[in-house]
Amino acid sequence: MHEEFLMGNEAIALGALAAGVNVVAGYPGTPSTEVLEAVAKRNPGTVYVEWSVNEKAAMEVAAGAAYAGARALVTCKQVGLNVASDPLMSLAYIGVRGGMVVMVADDPGPISSQTEQDTRTFAQFAKLPIFDPSSVAEAYEMIQEAFDLSERIGSPVIFRATTRIDHGYEAITVADGADWRRTEPTGFARDSSRWVIFPRLSRANHAKIEARNARLSDELSSYTRNFIMPEGPSAPRVGIATHGISTMYVEESLAADTCPRLLRVATPFPFPEDLALEFLSGLDEILCVEELDPVIERALLQICGKHGLDVRIRGKLTGDIAPAGENTVASVGAALAAFLGTAPPARVGPNALRLPVRPPVPCVGCPHRASFYAVKKAMGVRKTVYCGDIGCYTLGNARPLDMVDTCLCMGAGITVAQGIFHVEPDTACFAFVGDSTFFASGITGVINAFYNQADLTLIVLDNSTTAMTGHQPHPGTGRTMMGATVEKVSIEAILRAIGLAVVETVDPLDHAHAVETVRRVADEPGVKAIIFRSPCVILAKPQATSHVDGDSCIGCKRCILEIGCPALFLEDGKARIDSSLCTGCTLCEQLCPVGAISGGERL
């Protein structure tokens, strides 16, 4: 055993390694990404680890491995679980042999996601046991227990953490590599009555799953991570039920002597009913302090109804806890004070000073800025719609570019553009997709649009990495998480194989050529593609910087107002470049009407 200062996601990875995981597959997504990266980094050489093309592929790879008796881990964010839900819902009926844990990172807030969905609710829907840790240290232990439970019941289980655990750091005690469990997979045993899903098998297994979950509810009542903390000596006859990181916010807010009885639920499904009955006994009123869905609140209401208990259950459904958004120490403190009738924590008013907002924007030197600008200039005042997608380039919506009209989910830009085309055939429809998203779920959309005779321009923003989540490799990069150099999958070749007649590859930072290409290609019939290829500036680390010749600058502000580069600003009526930020991409140099900017070097 030794102590390490670990990010929650690293702790989860080390826990999986300590549990003898054999196969790990996932798709990057904040706040889950570091789990798989940490497994790869700490891989003793015996673990197979891959970034799959998407979460569905990851789930199926892990399922196959677990069929063959391996311990398998899937990592994804909450919306990634939606992509993987088709295999997971069926896998819940089929089951596994080796332990299989689906690690899902939820994002209350949301801070970096499309939705605020709660994977605890998903687990109920999928009828799968779910673990919900409250700290980094607990996450490390709990994922090991999740593997054990999965193997014991022959079913995948879900392990869910939220941002403050995934991206929280703590010094925790972990096992030495020498003490990690060694799992020897037994191999796949053919048995079509078990592994081939047919309605008859599903009917039989459904009944078994319901019976198992009822049994698990009993068992989990004595799982030590579901627990009751007895009330303090001068506590009122009320109780607090909580879970996850909110447990810590409750702990921060209450003094030991007046702390009411507390129920901490680590397995919201199957819900530990017996433990809950013990908790409710003798209490008049409960406040459920939950983040995202009122899962515990509904379960307690159900239990009260089922057992005829006269206990008032309060929480999100009664308006005592905010129905949406992330909990904080302050929000939980205020809710507890209101519930207990104690003095509310000191509130600090909002700043009297109005600050300029600072939303995320494309990086200085980001090639996506040049790509969006080229399309914007090429299309001018023509009737257009710009469908965006998930990645750094969603930030193309920021002013002054304002080049993202829609963004829905991974890969949707292409098919949404197609849908708009079928209603508005006179609109020039564009779909922007990044390279990783193209591989993840863009290809089927292109085939759909091509086959169904749409007219749209596909713009692939190829920076040869998965940039938003921290630069993970993908099929187009020719690198794998096992460290191998492999044949790159060519985006051009895929598009041509689908049947697209026009597929052009352009450097977006060659502005005039990029604009000319967009103008020409957009007028071609059918589905056509432009691949804007230029490396992510964070990886390329260019050394040059551009500077403005103050004597030549006419102060027209075109460079500042047209492209929104964070390195450009106006000083004493002239454009200036912050040399500590500039990467010398030359985009501003190319659009300066008097050639006052120079010094950059195009990559």
Partner: protein, 195 residues
């Protein structure tokens, strides 16, 4: 004894590394430590913060409003944005150099540095303003503002950590080729005892 520290700035400025150095220094002293980081979309030039909690009694990685002992701000407007976390009598160490958001340069609500600094001075007694431009010029690098600020913060005496603890953390956590620059950066800010 516990230290609650909010580090804040603009994505890409190195707040995460600074919080890691604080944590490593605390661990080397045998103190419990928890941190919460901003990782993800906001890192692309948006407002970011890290919370660092050193010592016993920290359950949550996030600090409650009005409970931070120290704010280390890498940018003036971001310092003001996080003031609600500061406890009465808490300390603020702030870089003097504004980073103007694109929203302001293209005609949105203006960035008024004077108003921001005046507000800060009115809210906190003696905020410690670190001249980032002078530091960069003296040190010959833009890349170590985070360590300059850490040096200034530790020398206020507001923390239970000493300059030696951060020095050891730099040697432990950073690649050797960056040691010399960062050790100079750590010493750069003048000694300023907090009120």
């Amino acid at each position: 004894m516990s230290d609650n520290i909010v580090l804040c700035g603009v994505g890409g400025q190195g707040t995460v590394l600074a919080s890691q150095l604080l944590a490593a220094a605390a661990m080397a002293r045998g103190l419990p430590v928890k941190t919460a980081e901003t990782i993800g979309m906001a890192q692309r030039g948006g407002s970011v913060f890290s919370h660092v909690r050193i010592g016993d009694g920290a359950a949550s990685p996030l600090i409650g409003c009005g409970r931070a002992d120290l704010i280390i701000a890498f940018e003036p407007a971001e310092a003001v944005r996080q003031l609600a976390y500061l406890r009465a009598g808490g300390t603020v160490v702030v870089s003097s150099r504004p980073i103007i958001p694109v929203s302001a340069t293209i005609g949105g609500p203006a960035y008024d540095l004077e108003a921001i600094m005046a507000y800060l001075q009115g809210y906190v007694e003696n905020p410690i303003v670190v001249d980032a431009d002078a530091a960069a010029a003296d040190l010959g690098s833009e890349k170590c503002l985070n360590v300059v600020l850490l040096g200034a913060a530790v020398r206020t005496g507001a923390l239970s950590l000493a300059v030696d603890d951060i020095r050891a953390a730099i040697r432990m956590r950073l690649p050797e080729r960056f040691h010399e620059l960062n050790l100079r950066a750590l010493e750069w800010a003048p000694v300023t005892a907090c009120a």
